[in-house]
């Protein structure tokens, strides 16, 4: 009875921390201080934050944007078009996967299983070196993308980048688009399967056409269901875009590698690259949480 009085005093505070909590906090502080101490002496690296920061922001010789930011804009173009491609392809494949007709369902299943079960890097190498080289001449794009020397206007340059990098962009968009389409197709399929059978039947009973059924009954419900996993998939696409630097697409990771190797500021430049991706993905997260709350407005949840 006497021994309980001491404990009572601690438990009455707003943040009930007991002895175990304090012990764990102490261990955490020790680990972090030890890591910091080891990093200062063990890593053998001279930090040059100011010089690296200056380097990132130095303009090109002809006055255009710094090389780092050109890479960033290239990544934005790549992920923007890649996302568009992946969402369109993914939605169509997801609907095909969900369909009753085996003619539509089987190719969709084959495609999804193929992409999901190969590492992204392996897929990109195979796709780029074997398929892309056959595909681009086959589609007749070779002349447009490689040989022409005409200058293009400002809007085209803004949307697609400099002309000599168009083939680069197209290959990159195909690669990451096809990769993500498989995962988005699964997300869309699970969203479609989550809709109550009663909704489909009610739409049928009301005599709505297929387009009207999807547009007014199914799609609003599917969209609000799949927005969280779709957000995750989109962010994954942005991060996967860094893999295409290995097939020499001139995006942020590639530019970062070149700058880091040329200047010798390896860790600083890589940390800046990481921060750039972080900002990009956080913005996407915020955008998607807004979309999520907006799509839930009219539904009873």
């Amino acid at each position: 009875m006497q021994s309980n009085n001491g404990n009572k005093a601690i438990n009455q505070s707003a943040f009930p921390l007991n002895k175990l909590d304090y012990f764990l906090l102490l261990i955490l502080v020790i680990v972090i201080s030890w890591l910091y101490y080891r990093s200062a002496i063990g890593v053998n690296y001279q930090w040059h934050w100011a010089a690296a920061f200056d380097l990132i922001f130095t303009s090109r010789r002809d006055g255009s944007l710094p090389y780092f930011f050109q890479g960033l804009i290239s990544t934005l173009r790549l992920t923007g078009w890649g996302l568009l491609f992946a969402l369109l392809a993914g939605t169509l494949i997801g609907i095909a996967r969900h369909s009753q007709f085996a003619l539509l369902r089987t190719p969709a299943v084959l495609y999804i299983q193929l992409i999901r079960n190969i590492p992204p890097l392996v897929f990109i190498f195979i796709f780029y070196f074997f398929v892309s080289n056959q595909l681009i001449p086959l589609l007749g794009l070779e002349h447009l993308l490689r040989q022409s020397n005409h200058n293009s206007n400002a809007i085209v340059t803004f949307l697609f980048g400099p002309r000599n990098l168009w083939e680069n962009l197209l290959s990159g968009v195909f690669c990451i688009g096809l990769l993500s389409a498989a995962y988005i197709a699964e997300v869309v399929r699970s969203g479609l399967e989550g809709i109550d059978k009663g909704q489909w039947e009610a739409a049928q009973t009301l005599g709505l056409s297929t387009w009207a059924k999807y547009r007014f009954v199914i799609a609003p419900q599917v969209i609000s269901n799949i927005t969280p996993p779709l957000a995750g998939q989109t962010i994954s696409l942005v991060k996967d875009s860094s893999i295409v630097s290995l097939i020499s697409i001139q995006e942020l990771t590639f530019s970062g590698t070149e700058i880091a190797n040329s200047s010798g500021f390896i860790f600083e430049i890589w940390i800046f690259v990481g921060i750039a991706y972080l900002i990009l993905c956080l913005s996407l997260s915020l955008l998607f949480s807004k979309i999520e709350s907006k799509s839930r407005k009219y539904l009873v949840k």
Partner: protein, 268 residues
């Protein structure tokens, strides 16, 4: 019917003979386009980015001079080193000018010109981990870890000279050197002059145990197999620039002096 057969055979004959007439087409294609597309990779000091993000380096000078002498514009296609030969074969550019050493394996996939530069391969060793290395055999042990750049000629040299050692491969030279500086590898093998320069910069950690370079490499341009017209043209140009001493002078500037380092933000 007979005329039909003759016509078909005639057309077949014409079609079969077409590829052989393409032997001087490769160079003509480039001249028609007006731009020479050169594939290279970031590799200090062969090619690198200066403070303003422009490409500078020995290879860049060579390529620019080649284009100027041929009356062509130049376009650089920066490519990851591992994939540079597949990219050449996929027609992404016309020639590789990137300090590519001539090796038998590579000669199976690409056509090399005559060498235009000769560099060596050197080893820099971590003083703390292997400070007692004096002869080549000291590094040939199962407990030794040597870091190198993936896909580079230096990996083969390391395997030939130190077969028992473990070779750690990295995407870039910078990472390979960082591994030795951190103490995770005993030695790094790379093309001169990088080991010499790094040993001066980090003289408290690295040292060069061997005075002689391990292997004298030959670097040449690489074009696709069968493009003999381009090879002949480049050989002529290389001979001309070697004879007038321009190549040697540029090599001297980029490899023996450190004057260019002001242009690149080196961590001095």
């Amino acid at each position: 019917m007979k005329i039909f057969k003759i016509l078909i055979l005639g057309m077949l004959g014409v079609l079969l003979s077409l590829p052989t007439s393409a032997s001087s087409d490769n160079l003509n294609q480039i001249k028609q386009r007006g731009t020479l597309r050169v594939g290279m990779s970031t590799f200090v000091p062969w090619a690198m980015r200066d403070k303003q993000g422009e490409l500078i380096g020995f290879e860049i000078d060579v390529a620019k001079r080649l284009a100027a002498d041929s009356g062509l514009k130049i376009e650089f296609v920066p490519t990851a080193w591992d994939g540079i030969i597949p990219a050449l074969l996929a027609n992404k550019f016309d020639v590789i000018i990137g300090g590519m050493s001539i090796t038998e394996e590579r000669a199976k996939s690409v056509l090399f010109t005559t060498p235009y530069s000769h560099s060596g391969v050197q080893v820099a060793v971590n003083k703390q981990l292997a400070g007692d290395v004096k002869v080549l055999a000291d590094l040939n042990s199962r407990r030794v870890k040597i870091s190198a750049r993936r896909g580079a000629f230096t990996v083969q040299v390391a395997r030939d000279n130190f077969p028992k050692a473990k070779i750690l491969q990295f995407d870039d030279d910078a990472q390979a050197f960082q591994e030795v500086l951190n103490g995770s590898a005993d030695a790094v093998i790379a093309s001169s002059p990088k080991p010499e320069q790094e040993a001066i910069k980090h003289s408290d950690i690295l040292f060069l145990p061997f005075k002689e370079r391990l292997s004298k490499g030959n670097e040449a341009f690489a074009v696709r197999l069968g493009e003999d017209d381009k090879k002949a043209y480049f050989n002529e140009w290389i001979k001309a620039r070697t004879d007038d001493g321009w190549l040697a002078q540029r090599y001297e500037y980029w490899f023996a002096t450190l004057d260019w380092q002001k242009q690149v933000a080196q961590n001095q």
